[in-house]
Amino acid sequence: MRAGSNKYTTSEKKNVDYGMILQQASVPLMFIIICAVCIPIAGLSPSYLANEIVTRMGRNSFLILSLLIPIMAGMGLNFGMTLGAMAGEIGLILVSDWQIVGIPGMVLAAIISIPISILLGIFCGKILNKAKGREMITSYIMSFFINGIYQLVVLYLMGFIIPIKHSSIKLPRGYGIRNTVSLLRMRQHLDNLIAINVNGIKIPVMTFIIVGILCVFIIWFRKTKLGQDMRAVGQDMEVARDAGIDVERTRIISIVMSTVLAGIGMIIYLQNMGNIATYSSHSQIGMFCIAALLVGGASVDRASIGNVFLGVILFHTMFIVAPRAGAYITGDSMIGEYFRVFVSYAVITLALIMYETKKRREKSVSGQQLRAEQDRDEAKASGKGGNV
């Protein structure tokens, strides 16, 4: 009986796809328009703008790439990437107390952050397995919860139980870490390792090489058995379970990988910034990365490497030009600041709404198909069926 709708299904599918493409492109398009309007108003020199964008691409791409794997495993936007960021910060704080500087310092910080990230990732993954269907809100609250633990460790245990030697990073009271930890002797060491200058635009080649390696890794990872399992789990947990895939474990692994990558990404991010805002560097990072990814045209259940780079460019262009443009239009510099915050949140809200409505529409589409089929059936059968 349902086979009768075959042709119908395929033709309908094509129409839906056009709509989908348009919908996926809508957010990037909106941002292109915002940027196109704001860039001339802001009046920034092209070279300054290009420099800023290239810097931010180097700084943020790695972090944003860390979001891709949980999306692949169907766990949505990993608001818990903040956990990895905190692990990275702990690594950096310790390394700067031990006075390990430059690239070796970064490598060591990464090595320290990995076990912490793994532990946090396992914890987060286990909790998310208990909250299937509401992963995002749970990972979001999780980031606050772990932030509490992080504060406990950094503000009370460091210098108290975990030895911290240097008074330049320790609070005067003898324990706890200062609000800012300087990474002066690590600052942009990675970016400058192989830096070339094209028309006054500094390109941090080494950073891009590392981002490139991660991209290659992600592409390779998709081809592995684990990557295949994650895609399967992401699309249908029950079917994957029936086929013998360990769904829970696969989901935990995806969160662990994301957390570890976020930790390394945070180290790259902070070496560019040159200092750690101990208690606030990580708190917004998840939100900005997610917003950038979504601006690049990703959705809650679908994201590609292309989305990452398009997102970084568009989102950060908006970020750079909005305050200036806002100040020019309204005469108040704060307007632009608030505008970009608003846009960041609005784009996430929009993406979430689009995702949920899409989920619901998919359900109703199947209903409508059946209905239309029955209408035809009804038309065909009318006259034939009699009363009984």
Binding site: Q99, V101, I103, P104, G105, V107, L108, F144, H166, R185
Partner: protein, 154 residues
Amino acid sequence: MRSRRVLFRAGALLIVLLIAALMFVIGRGHTVYFDNKTAEYNGQTYEAFHKVVVTVDGEQVAKLGKRDRGMADTMGQKFEMTLEITDEKGAEPHSHKVSMTLPYGMDGIIVNLPELMAGLPADAYLSEFVIAPVEEEETEEETATDEFGIGGDI
């Protein structure tokens, strides 16, 4: 097969640990201070030079007159610098390549150049630079407000 995996894992872990250890060694950062000061050692006086130009990694980091102090940040225990020394005013400067091993435990290291050039042992020309503890007012932690302290500025 299983033991093979264990072997590989152990190997990988070992490599990571080795890298970590290596980073500890090669990544150790020091600040080296150069003093061009008259110093005394074992009753002998070593006169400061008229002018010393210190070059580290091809980059001139300090130009020191008498009683001057210069500094450079370095990474690793092996430290090389080139000194361009002018003994007296008007004299021809002569250049020396100096290389030394820095003690791991010291963050800041003072090198007394006259003593160094005189070929004295390390304990003579090296001393630790200790930052005098500055009394700081304990900044009051912000008092409990009703909002969560988790916002950060945006």
